[in-house]
């Protein structure tokens, strides 16, 4: 379990490598209920959209970023805010390398602290997507889980 004890700016999350297949992309699009053809129809993606192949949709990318952060934090990590910008499409045959670093630890509120994390999704060394996640973490092992924060006090 990760808490804010000893957590400092510059701390690195473990790298995560994710091989991407057509199945990964189609399954992510279907599970997120996104039926736009560039996420499941290779011929349409190439011939009508000028893309190299089908591309991973933004919901699936978001899912990988959230998973990356909570794999590290454990279930008490509660994401309050995240954003990402896609620079290059992610296609079957790519391998994503996720790298994350703690950019800020904000002062404590209600037993938890906000931790800002910068994430890079690299494909062949080039930036495919950049992301920022603001995560609530318990201050100590005995602090309440941020999930127990009263609705009226939750202010991401």
């Amino acid at each position: 379990m990760i808490t804010c004890v000893g957590l400092t700016v510059g701390a690195r999350l473990p790298d995560l490598r994710i091989p991407i297949s057509a199945k990964t992309i189609v399954m992510g699009a279907a599970a997120s209920r996104d039926w736009q053809p560039q996420h499941h129809d290779s011929a349409w993606a190439r011939d009508s959209a000028g893309l190299p192949d089908i591309i991973m949709n933004n919901y699936t990318q978001a899912g990988f970023f959230c998973r990356y952060v909570t794999d590290w934090s454990g279930p008490d990590g509660r994401i309050g805010r995240f954003k990402f910008a896609m620079k290059k499409p992610i296609c079957p045959g790519d391998e994503i390398l996720l790298q994350g670093v703690v950019e800020g630890v904000l002062p404590s509120v209600n037993g938890y602290s906000w931790v800002d994390i910068i994430i890079k999704a690299l494909v062949d060394g080039a930036l495919a997507t950049s992301a920022e996640v603001r995560l609530a973490l318990p201050n100590t092992a005995s602090s309440p889980s941020p999930w127990r924060c009263a609705r009226a006090l939750w202010a991401p």
Partner: protein, 172 residues
């Protein structure tokens, strides 16, 4: 070149819900576990009732799926005409501005109450701003920002998604 002034129709859309989608899908564990499988997310809050009990009271849906609960079924009994396009307001703006190409430049989520099994969402798509015309690397176009607000029954805020777009006409 494109007109500097916004079309009146687009000006009227600014700042108010233009597309509202009412509770079209009921969140179910099986639906969100398909997504967890796709991204291989083992977070016990999505899978394990015992682990979730002391934190979220019941298992919850992955936050990245929030928009998915507001996408109408691609087909439903008795429905007439094509389903709404995903983020219909974006396409309406793009069409009204006469810009044939569009892409998402940034997506942001602010997360509030998590989605549990049995929840559904009311979705409001709001046009926040449209930039003046400008020349970009891809062609002449404009930027615009759309907020999508997701509320559970009882008007409980589940989250806000902010999408920033570039619409453009390809340079000749």
């Amino acid at each position: 070149m494109i007109e500097t002034a916004l079309p009146p129709q687009v000006s009227q859309w600014l700042g108010k819900p233009v597309i509202v989608i009412e509770h079209v899908v009921t969140a179910e564990v099986g639906l969100w576990l398909n997504f967890c499988v796709a991204v291989q997310d083992a977070n016990p809050l999505y899978w394990n009732y015992a682990a979730a009990l002391g934190r979220t009271e019941a298992v919850i849906a992955p936050p990245a799926m929030l928009p998915s609960w507001g996408i109408p079924h691609d087909w439903s009994p008795g429905a007439e005409g094509p389903p709404l396009r995903t983020l219909e307001l974006h396409f309406m703006v793009k069409d009204a501005l006469g810009l044939p190409n569009g892409l998402v430049t940034e997506v942001e989520f602010e997360l509030h109450d998590p989605i549990r099994a049995g929840d559904s969402v009311r979705v409001e798509q709001i046009l926040k701003e449209v930039s003046p015309p400008r020349q970009t690397r891809l062609g002449h176009g404009r930027n615009w920002t759309i907020d999508v607000v997701y509320r559970k029954p009882g008007d409980i805020l589940a989250g806000v998604q902010t999408l920033r777009f570039l619409g453009y006409r390809k340079a000749p």
